[in-house]
């Protein structure tokens, strides 16, 4: 190991360290670890120069599908990121900042997070937001926990149209708690309202839905909210933030808590992260909300300032009685979300949403024209919709990937009897030419 280029220590330094701990060799140092538990090899090539490393990384990057025409969504979306987002979020003041526990030296970060909370409240139509959570799926689970605390009840009802990833995280969260999770099987890509009505009783703390749902369908949540409230439960809606430029916000439809993933707001796909989760709620539930909230106040001279507030429920103070064990927010990713929303603006979000919807409608029409393809028409959609192919979707997807097109998410792994179903997503980045190419490639393959 002494000649490894990856070890920062010289043989002399290694000898010195070994002598301090009283070991004669590295082998002896690791002797307490049984040999069968030790790595035989790290399987890494010999060291390279900086130039060689750079060339190797470029070769890997060229092979990782960056040039793929992407119609995959399912919770993470290929949106344009204005240059201002990278520029401002890359400033050292933000990029290197740690948790702003000391307001006197964190005013910039605190103000940014305060404005982020304001933006999330306006987007969701709800009264309070925290300073971000880990991601959309954990935000969903945290919302369920909030409802359990707020109502003192023991059952969570979740629509099967909620992302399977969020549902899995929810089940994992609640696995060791005395809480029952009831899942309602989708009906034609929508919430089965009759099945929901049948299971709404005095044990239900919350009903979790997603809008637009995993199949891309949009539903009016207002009548649902009334029904859920009549049973004394809370309505939690998971939403796709970009869609809120066009769809009525969850708060205006009567949801008590709204959650979602903020990746689509100025954060790159980056092979799955990092991203941030947002959570907003009616003010009545603020003390059941996890994480930290930034508040506005005045200093001793009466000047406007910002400070972490309501943090008495956070893990570093409340320890085992903390509202949540999520103790890190995603400050930098949330900041990117704020910069994105500020750069695009109220009109811009609406325009962006319309563009996404219109392109998706064009794609829908193109795909519907392919013999054997059925576009699910049970409800309006935003930029994502489900199609049924005349044969299993997974091998068709594999074939199109070879042609540089990622046509969507095959549903077979997540829903029974859905092997032929494919969820296709179209963002503002997809051109007419690319959409036509998808339609032609699909027609040829079927």
């Amino acid at each position: 190991m002494n000649d490894s280029h990856y070890c920062p220590h010289t043989p002399e330094e290694i000898r010195e360290m070994l002598s301090v701990v009283g070991a004669s060799s590295v082998e002896e140092l690791f002797a307490p670890i049984p040999p069968e538990l030790r790595a035989k090899t790290f399987n890494i090539p010999p060291g390279m120069s900086e130039f060689e490393t750079f060339a190797r990384m470029q070769a890997i990057a060229a092979d990782n599908g960056a040039a793929m025409v992407n119609f995959i969504g399912g919770g993470f979306y290929d949106h344009i990121i204005p240059a201002v987002v990278d520029h401002l979020s890359g400033r050292a003041e933000f990029y290197t900042a740690y948790t702003p526990y000391q307001p006197e030296c964190s005013q910039g970060t605190l103000q940014a997070l305060f404005e982020y909370q304001t933006a999330i409240c306006r987007l969701t139509g709800l009264e309070v937001s925290n300073a971000s959570l880990y991601d959309g799926a954990t935000a969903c689970a945290e919302a369920a926990m909030m409802a359990l605390r707020a109502t003192g009840r023991t059952r969570i009802v979740v629509d099967g149209c909620v992302s399977p990833f969020s549902r899995q995280v929810l089940k994992t969260y609640l696995y060791n708690q005395a809480v029952e999770v009831v899942e309602i099987a989708p009906l034609d890509g929508l919430l089965n309202r009759a099945a929901l009505a049948a299971c709404l009783d005095e044990h239900v703390a919350a009903v979790l839905v997603q809008n637009p749902n995993f199949f891309g369908c949009i539903e009016d949540l207002s009548p649902l909210a009334e029904q859920v409230h009549a049973a004394g439960a809370l309505l939690v809606a998971s939403v796709y933030p970009v869609s809120l430029g066009l769809i009525t916000p969850p708060g205006d439809m009567g949801a008590d808590i709204a959650v979602g993933d903020g990746q689509s707001l100025g954060n790159p796909l980056s092979f799955g992260g990092p991203s941030f989760g947002f959570i907003a709620a009616k003010k009545a539930y603020i003390r059941n909300m996890p994480g930290r909230i930034v508040g506005e106040t005045v200093d001793k001279n009466g000047k406007r300032g910002f400070v972490l507030t309501l943090q008495a429920r956070e893990q570093h103070i409340k320890r085992h009685k903390a509202t949540s064990n999520i103790c890190s927010n995603q400050g930098l990713c949330a900041l990117r979300g704020l910069i994105f929303l500020s750069a695009v603006g109220r009109e811009g979000v609406a325009e962006l949403a319309r563009l996404n919807r219109d392109k998706a409608e064009y794609t829908k029409a193109r795909l519907a024209g392919i013999p054997g393809v059925t576009v699910v028409q049970s409800a309006p959609t935003f930029n994502e919709f489900t199609v049924f192919l005349p044969k299993p979707a997974a091998p068709v997807v594999a074939e199109l990937l070879k042609q540089g097109i990622a046509p969507g998410v095959p549903l077979g792994d997540y829903y029974e009897d859905s092997a032929n179903a494919l969820v296709v997503t179209v963002t503002e980045k997809r051109t007419k030419k690319e959409i036509d190419r998808l339609a032609e490639a699909l027609r040829a393959e079927l």
Binding site: R287, A312, R313, I317, K318, K321
Partner: protein
Amino acid sequence: MSIYFTKEHEWVRVKEGIGAVGISEHAAHELGDITFVELPAMGKVVKQFDMLGAIESVKAASDIFSPVSGKVVKINEALNDAPEIVNESAEDAGWLTWIEIADEAELKNLMTREQYDEYLKTI
């Protein structure tokens, strides 16, 4: 009318089977500015030393434990708008709830004011 204290700094003042419950002046002082009092629901039935509610100050959130077993028959709604009453008058106007005492024999598990004052010197 006698007052009794717990090791967790709650007090109960007993009169005709009803116990008024609050936190001690010592506790209110230690907590600092109180910003929120989470009171139990009316009619809640608690056991002695079970959690009754919570108090949040600028420094911490602390649980309140019930000094006696019984049923919550009255809550101090003034605290919803003015939690600082607990700081100003912890052992009087800052009472939290009234509890219909299930078993007065449990009072022997509590401290008298003299015993509590002695106890405070030891912590």
